[in-house]
Amino acid sequence: MSTPILKVDNLTVAAGDNRIIDGVSFEVGNSEIYGIYGESGAGKTTLGRALANWLPAGVEQTGGKVLFAGHDLRTTGANRVTIGRDIAYIGAKPQSALDPTVPVGPQIVEKLLMVQPGLTRTEAKQRVMDLLHEVRIASPEERFYDYPTKYSGGMMQRAMIVDALCADPAVLIADDIIRPLDVTVAAQIVSILKDLCLKRKMAVIFLASSLLALRLVAGKVGVMHEGRLIEEQPVETLLTAPKTEYTKTAISHVPRIWSSNEFPEDRGRADDKPLMEVREVSRTYKVRKRGTFGQFNHVKAVQGVSFDIMPRENFGIVGESGCGKSTLTRLLTWLEKPDSGDIRLGGTSLANFSGRELLDKRREFQLLLQDPYNSLPPRVTVGRMIEEGLRLRGTPKAEMREKVKEAMVSVGLPTSIYDDLPNALSTGERQRISIARALVLDPKLLILDETLSALDQGEQSKLIDLFAKLQETKDLTYVFISHDLAMVRKVCNRIGAMYFGKMVEIGDNKSIFFEPKHDYTKALLSAAPTLDEKPFDAGELGFEPIQ
């Protein structure tokens, strides 16, 4: 390798007494993509910011150097190294990275003119326009004058790539740039970025918490843990022969979809009748079209979806953001009624119930919420929260308390927190409260709306075990609505994939994951962040991300 363009030498960064980066050293040369793997909290973001001489207030570089072409970033003047021109940075928050009150294009032009004062406005605009083409933003001439809020996450991240690359930097720092994106979008962005950087012979430091993404782009990868770089290897070697225990564990935690031949146990019986029948349901939202005197856009959030849910099965619904999952959830939980079609519970249409009858019927199907922090009102005690469903139905006090305590025990909550406020509880405990609240009603069907996605791996598997146990003891049926393919693979017997409001494919675990038929299912699976070999070849399907 020629002389490194960026050299990090024993870098130490601290906030007060707390060392965030502890003696990190590495080098990156031209045309090299250097990956750094680290979980959240490992110090990645601070490292990324230190490399751009952009530490937040209160955080200081206490030792070591960052050298750009031999110049120490901290001591050299801005005439030698310009942040934004020589070293560019892309972060994990594309949608809040630009001023929301100014169109995207002009902001990039503004930046370019600031870091390269010699350019004329026309030249700058031309260059930005060319790059917008290059990152495959559709019709950039119109998009140029759109405001940031009109851009989707993936588009905005592409615009930020343009923003970073327009001044032809020698070094690019990409900090977790795919974290906020859906898998299929992330895959596209990573490949675009890789092409552009190689073409420009740029040095890239690619910080990520996804080993899969690093495998797609990086040459050499450093593993960061608690502020230190604990090992450094070419990516394939790292994945096959990690040197440290930490890396080994990290690799083993990467979800597997295809490595195992086990399938979730089927608890169905031959004479089962469907518990819930969803028949051709559609839901269209009217969105007011502005400037048209009360005309509406019709957004077809769910279109003609049909499926059955059998007793004691785990039914999975997968898809990316915007595919109609949330609307379907609202329909299944009868918070909204379908425009057309029918949802039947135990053979009777839910539309036939109202008032008291509906309240009774509601006991049978309950929802488990997604966001543990907002799922509980902050000023209400745990016990009061769990008993709400019973209280509404006029259950006597003594019986209510009994049932609540029973439910708390069965979900693994200590009954001592009955009178506590939920403020101090962990995410796992909060989700258990949500489960207990449903359980006191003796439901038959539980609908889980991304209930596990906010939890860490350990807590997630504990809850999955809990669900299995409850299923056995209480004869429960689950619908898992999730974007987490690995979890669905592990838990669900049958799975439906949604795309643009339609259920494009329904099948059992094996057929969905190993013999997907619909192109979208294939695209979704091929972008799944796993390290194992895929049993089918999806290739470049070029699916339009949902916006």
């Binding site: 973001t45 977790d176 929802l367 000023r379 509404l392 403020n423």
Partner: protein
Amino acid sequence: MSDVAQITPTAPVAAENEGQSTVTMRILKTAWRSKAFQFGFWIFVILVVTSLILPLVSPVSATKMAIREKFLPPLFMGEGWSWIHPLGTDQLGRDMLMRCMVGLRYSLMIGIITVVLMFIVGCGLGLLAGFKGKWWDTIIMRITDAQLSLPMIILAITILGISKPSVASIIVVLGLSGWPLYARVARSAAVTEREKEYVRGLRVVGAGDWRILLLYAAPNILPPIAFVAVLDIARMMIFESILGFLGLGIQPPTPSFGSIIADARKYLINAWWIATSPGVFLAVALTAINLMGASLEKARNTVYAGAR
């Protein structure tokens, strides 16, 4: 959350760190830590306590006239001052300190009752509009707009100028001017609250709009608005004094800041203190309230920024 964000000094203590203490308690604690709040608080306490107690125990009366003692200046200010009348006397020989104290009582009473009333009415209608939406929203917000478009002073002088002012009618008039802002704030908070995850949870369990609104949403929405209402107490006290000044406030002989100052205009050149001291007195009381209110508002913003 990444490592940097957690140590950035601008990101305040995360919500979980303070265990069982509620948001309200944390706001109060944060405010209490600021000097401005304590300063305002103690001035306020001293003023309130003395204005409640002094007129009861002191032999000097706020309304008793003593023509021989008229136009006495405040302490150390020119001829004839006395310890009995630290702020001097007015054109009828009434003690200025006592008049200010009694004026403050009425002013505070009217200010607080008005704010409580307009808080209840405004927030009630705002919650309704925001939570129920649809035509509730349209009708309530249209009335709110209309009310806002009619300046309080016009309404006040129309109502009070033509009918006879009383404490009750003054409170009603002041309250009319203030409720629309509460309605707007409460409405937008309710719109946000309605979309929160826990509301969805309650709906699935079977709870209806009213139940969710009253038992769960309102206790969340109202406290942060209540903190800012403290500032409005001061505003209403100013409005009350303006009404008094225009002759539309509490009627003599009961002293009120506004009417004292209005009467004193005639003696401005020879007996400047009659107009000045009630103004200073009122301004000090208002500054105390405003310091508390503004500190509470700041503390609220800090705590909520941290919770986000």
